[in-house]
Amino acid sequence: MIDVIFKYTFLQNAIIASILSSIVCGIIGTIIVEKKLVMMSGGIAHTSFGGIGLGYFLGIEPIIGAIFFSVLAALGISQIGRKAKTKSDALIGIFWSTGMALGIFFIGLTPGYPPDMTSYLFGDILTVSKTYLYIMVIVTVLLIFSILAFFNHIRAYLFDEEFLKVLKIPSVLLESFLFVFIALSIVVLLKVVGIILVIALLTIPPAISKFFTYDFKNMIIGSIIIGMFLCLFGLYISYRFNIPSGATIILLSSFLYFIMVIIKTMKKRFD
């Protein structure tokens, strides 16, 4: 396998993309799982389809439109949720469906042959371009820097928002910052690995990591390591047996998760 990696740049890119995605997902995933924002992240990801459609319609890079829409969705869901009395669950549904409908609407308006949207759904880690690798490197570095710089406050915000307000710490600022980061990360990953794999990588590694630790920092580190293992092992299997990489990584991940659940229950029974 090693000599093959050196021979093919697409494999090198896939490996680098896997590692970067695992880092981003380990950090963002732990945050959204612990703050119960998984649904919201799904909503943000799907709302961005509206932006992709708009991008095609206006003839600009679709990902720019996607970033615009997802950041708007992230801030919109948090702001409207705070002001109107709409349950955030319902609000996510509204953004989700509206975003996707807008995407189809704009693509319908776009003259010529309709672009292939499925690559955004399923992505393909084996076709990552150099440009996207650079964008991913930037997002990853920014994210690591931010989590290190604001660690104590981010953890406190996730755990007990009200108490931050008592301390007169601007929790709304912290929340907006986090939500924008979640939106950016999701969109960048979306193009690389596809929305389905994004959700899997955001949720499964943190869930497995939580079997081993009760500490927020260790949970993030654990998620990153587990994510890397799953991605790289998944890539290997997919290359070896020539099956789609995204699906392989997801199935491997959920397989490991359910194995962990079984081990955990067995252990409880015999203790």
Binding site: E34, K36, L148, A149, F150, F151, N152, H153, R155, A156, L158, F159, D160, E162, F163, L164, K165, V166, L167, K168, I169, P170, L174, K210, T213, Y214, D215, F216, N218, M219
Partner: protein, 250 residues
């Protein structure tokens, strides 16, 4: 002179009027007990003092530049969250300085002292959800105390504590009261009568604020809107308990 001055304060939740035209002055180093029926607006008053709720009318003046210490009635956090007891208490030391914030050795030492005083030291590395309800309550009180606030607000802090822990905490509060102002909501009239010098009766409006010893049966009945056990003035809690037993035997 006054640490808190509340003038013509009203607070609404949409159409519900929770507080109406409250005027209240709390002296420096006062230990004020707030009593009143369920839904009387006690928690609302504390939240508006903390800035968690906006008043619909009136004004609040606070004579401190530090955040107020706060022990909430109910904690809204997710008890499954991966955070250790020690780190929950340390939250009280967070400030607006967010950039590469780290806790100092002095703050770590302070946390150990306070955990020791509350008998929490052996649980310091446990995940917060693995404590009992009363132990979590102690963590919340410790978190408020470590803030070293000038004004401390407690919303039924001892509701889930055993009698031993209760008197421990009142001893600590009494001690803190030497140089801090404390407001405590309590349903426990015995406690109010034996530890606290001044009392406010709240039921949408403020019915009474003054010396605990001058509080009479009529005021209490007006506050609660029904007959209430008279507080045994100046007596120890035990005597009140005895009287209850005698009544039960009849």
């Amino acid at each position: 002179m006054y640490d808190i001055e509340i003038k013509n304060l009203s607070v609404n939740y949409d159409s519900v009027i929770a507080l109406k035209d409250i005027n209240l002055k709390v002296k420096n180093k006062e230990f004020l007990g707030i009593i009143g029926p369920n839904g009387g607006g006690k928690s609302t008053l504390l939240k508006v003092l903390l800035g968690l709720l906006k008043p619909s009318k009136g004004s609040i003046n606070l004579n401190t530049n530090k955040p107020l210490g706060y022990v909430p009635q109910y904690s809204h956090f997710d008890s499954e969250f991966p955070i250790k007891v020690k780190d929950v208490i340390l939250m009280g030391k967070l400030t607006k300085e967010m950039f590469f914030h780290r806790y100092s050795d002095k703050e770590m030492k302070k946390v150990r002292e306070i955990m020791d005083a509350f008998g929490l030291l052996k649980y310091q590395d446990r995940q917060i959800g693995q404590l009992s309800g009363g132990q979590i309550q102690k963590v919340m009180i410790a978190r408020a105390l470590i803030m070293e606030p000038d004004i401390l607000l407690l919303d039924e802090p001892t509701a889930s504590l055993d009698s031993n822990a209760k008197s421990e905490i009142y001893k600590i509060l009494k001690n803190i009261n030497k140089d801090k102002t404390i407001i405590m909501v309590s349903h426990d009239l015995e406690v109010v009568s034996s530890y606290i010098e001044s009392v406010a009766c709240l039921n949408k409006t403020l019915h009474y604020h003054g010396d605990n010893n001058e509080l009479n049966k009529e005021t209490l009945e007006k506050t609660y809107g029904c007959p209430v056990e008279l507080i045994a003035h100046g007596s120890t809690p035990h005597r009140v308990l005895n009287r209850h037993r005698e009544e039960n035997n009849d």
